[in-house]
Amino acid sequence: MKRKIKMLATAAAVVFMTSCATYPGLDSRLAEDLVDITKYDVKTDFTQFKTFSIVDSVSVIYDNDSSKVLNSQAQALLNQIVGDMQSRGYTKVDRKTGNPNLGINVGVVKITNVSYYYPGWYWDYGYYNPAYWGYPSYEYWYPYYPPEVTSYSTGTVIIDMVDLKNAPLHNNKIYVVWVAIIRGLMTGYHTTQDVLDNVDQCFAQTPQIRTNS
């Protein structure tokens, strides 16, 4: 009789557990793989731009510290973005003398303090500011509701493509016409090549970025 009750209890527990089994929790989802999030301004025609320039190092933002880094990994990341832009027909020009239509900022956020929720907060933390692009009195601006990223503690690459061509028309705002976010750098054993492949994916999922219509 006792054995029967035990079996019944086990069966009930199994049924109960399968009834509750659903998707994995956030922690295990975050640990799974790199995720690429992109958003572009649907009102912007990217074929109007012909030239671009890119920052000469990567802004790395930690909890209470930030620095500009140009090691082999950072260089590889910048080169990958340049290659993707050129494959879409854009010409790389000098930031100061080439009058670029588009500017590309690249940052890596590695913080453990998850207290930042509003988009673009990292612009104030050692990121390249608008003065870098020759607009000291301007501010960056998303002309759309940007994707929210809350779990920065997993490590994040952020690529902001800014519209320099039309900045004077935008009321002291430099529009971020495309933002690409690669999430999960600190969650697994991701190689530099993995990150570069994800840069390609960010471009692949935004076919609107091209010089020819």
Binding site: T18, C20, A21, T22, Y23, D36, T38, R183
Partner: protein
Amino acid sequence: MKKTYIAIVAALLLAVTVHAQEQAASGYSPTSLYTLSWSLSVPLGSFNNFINNVSPAGGNFAGRYLLKKGFAVGFEFGWNNYYKKYPRNTYYGPDGLAITGIHYTYALLVPWKVGAYYYFLPSGIADPYVGLSLGGDYMEEHIMIQEYDIYNTQWGFTMSPEVGVLIKFGKYSHWGANISAQYWFNTNSYNFTDYKTFSTMQGLNFSIGLTYMLR
């Protein structure tokens, strides 16, 4: 004479058998019954394209009230979780958004229904029945990619024919088991912008439950 004996014995035997059968069949006819069931759900039709996994995660609670001659009315509410992990692919959202990663597709279905039923042998040990229930389905559909949870909630009209059998644990026991199969469809639909789409949901639920009966 011999023939008469045989006829009488046969008639007696028949009478005894008939009486015994009646005895077996006449436990008692419950006036109301309540069933808590575990329910397994098989998505069908376009809902199957959205999540093609059988859901073992579900249950329902039903109450039924017997009127006359085996006819009954009742209520039922329940839930079913449907879940599937998809390999890395790209979700294209509104306003220029795109997200690439491993996708967890998840749906929750919560039906609230009333129904009419017919029990063939209300006082039998095994009492087969048929029924039809109508109501509303509350539903959530989610695509989860890391911390991103793209979801939608909705209500739809639902209808489900059902066949089942109620088995009493003893002639006079208050307890029994209920086994049933329900086909259901509802008017819920969803379009994850070029990604996962379904229009009208259908499924087949198999339930097994414990029933408490009142005389």
